[in-house]
């Protein structure tokens, strides 16, 4: 993967988005540098998840611009997608596949070369999130916390530089919360960055560089 072409992991200016006639974001300006973990706070409907989805290239802004490591989210979405790890509120797993099969599918889609390499990466990711014992179980039987852990394992397979996480601590027990903080810290310490949507500050308090609050669609 090419080196970042900007000091800013995220550089967004005046990002706005509306759904129908309702403006959810009204011009958000935000910069996140490499090595930073930024907590994104705000009440329900303040536009946190919408901002994250725009930065992840899943939604287009109606106004403003944003780039990830210097790559414009609208003009160069493939470059952006190659650098981010996005964790949505829903884990986005296939319930009739096992944990291992879900990760094998993700590894293939990510372009992992060779079955041996993929298997090693999958085993390492499962071990990292504490799901080795459940590798061959179907996701349908997983608790919400286990599904969240598996979604984190999938995220690790992509070796992201920038984490965009939407309430990553929800449904996790104390051990899971520590695991999640550990994963975020590892990636940020390797020169990455993280933008974390939080409902409560407490679980992530120890790892945040700073916080940002969205009110009425503005930062």
């Amino acid at each position: 993967m090419a080196e970042p072409t900007s000091d800013f992991a995220i550089d967004a200016t005046g990002v706005a988005r509306r759904f129908g006639t309702r403006w959810v974001l009204r011009g958000v300006t935000l910069q996140v540098r490499s090595g930073e973990t930024v907590g994104l706070l705000g009440s329900n409907g303040s536009g946190k998840s919408t901002l994250l989805r725009i930065l992840a290239t899943l939604l287009r802004p109606n106004a403003g611009s944003a780039s990830i490591y210097g790559h414009d989210i609208v003009r160069a979405p493939d470059e952006v997608r190659a650098r981010i790890g996005f964790l949505a509120h829903e884990p986005g797993l296939y319930e009739d596949l096992t944990a291992e099969e879900n990760l094998r599918f993700a590894a293939t889609m990510l372009g992992s070369q060779g079955a041996g390499t993929a298997a090693t990466e999958i085993n390492a990711a499962l071990a990292r999130v504490g799901l080795t014992h459940a590798a061959r179980e179907r996701v349908r039987g997983f608790s919400a916390g286990m599904a969240r852990r598996l979604a984190v394992a999938r995220l690790l397979l992509g070796r992201p530089q920038l984490l965009l996480l939407d309430e990553p601590y929800s449904n996790l027990d104390a051990e899971g919360i520590a695991m999640m903080s550990g994963v975020i810290t590892e990636i940020v310490q390797r020169g990455g960055a993280a933008l974390v949507v939080l409902h409560e500050l407490a679980p992530a308090a120890g790892i945040l560089s700073r916080t940002l609050t969205l009110r009425d669609g503005r930062a």
Binding site: R60, R81, I84
Partner: protein
């Protein structure tokens, strides 16, 4: 290298869709049951006239297959929508056509299997004599299935973001399928009747042209349909 990666993705998506479908079972059983039921209803509607039943066999078979296939197309994006897996799918690197091709391949396998069962039931139910040109008839079945699945998979992706997708899909799909359906029905009817007037060739050519045009067009347009 990029094409090899995309081809790996095509196979992975097809494998994933077919595996989830095989394990959930409900989808395939429902689709086949619907196809067979429609075929039987046509049989009842046509009455006891054996010749009338034979004449209508090709049309009844293709309509039964089409109605049942719509159920399969609706399901093809349902798994992603229900579990929120569409977002991760769109965030993977690689060409968007790989997602479409993977889903098309899975739908073709699924609908192809359903078609085999419906055809076998139709042969018994409508007392159809298997023609000498049966390889050509199989060719028509394959070409018809490709046409139906190509547009079905495409419009299912378009309708998938709508709340009224179950209604929207047939409304979008059926008018566009008229040429393919007409060609498949007429070619099948001609072949089942021995093709004395050599009509089948022209209909098969139309079917091939339809498939080629829409295979290219849908692969090119898919990216614009699936992006938010």
């Amino acid at each position: 290298m990029a094409f090899a990666d995309d081809w790996r993705r095509v196979r992975a998506i097809a494998w994933k869709d077919l595996t989830t479908e095989r394990r959930s079972k409900a989808g395939f059983n429902g689709v086949v049951a619907l196809g067979v039921t429609i075929l039987m209803l046509f049989g009842f509607a046509l009455g006891p006239d054996t010749q009338a039943i034979r004449d209508a066999a090709a049309g009844a078979l293709w309509l039964a297959a089409l109605f049942a296939a719509v159920l399969a197309f609706n399901r093809s994006y349902q798994v992603e929508l229900e579990s929120g897996a569409l977002d991760p799918l769109l965030l993977y690197p690689g060409s968007r056509w790989a997602i479409f091709s993977g889903k098309l391949l899975a739908n073709l396998s699924f609908v192809g299997l359903m078609l085999v069962i419906v055809v076998l039931v139709g042969i018994v139910l409508f007392q159809v004599t298997i023609p000498a040109a049966w390889p050509a008839l199989i060719g028509v079945l394959v070409l018809g299935a490709i046409g139906i699945c190509t547009l079905g998979t495409f419009y299912a992706s378009m309708a998938s973001r709508s709340r009224a997708r179950e209604v929207l899909l047939p409304l979008l799909l059926f008018p566009m399928l008229v040429p393919a359906l007409l060609a498949a029905m007429q070619a099948s009817k001609a072949l089942l009747g021995g093709d004395l007037m050599h009509e089948a060739d022209a209909w098969i050519k139309l079917l091939i042209a339809y498939d080629v045009i829409f295979l290219i067009a849908t692969h090119l347009a898919f990216e614009h349909v699936i992006e938010a």
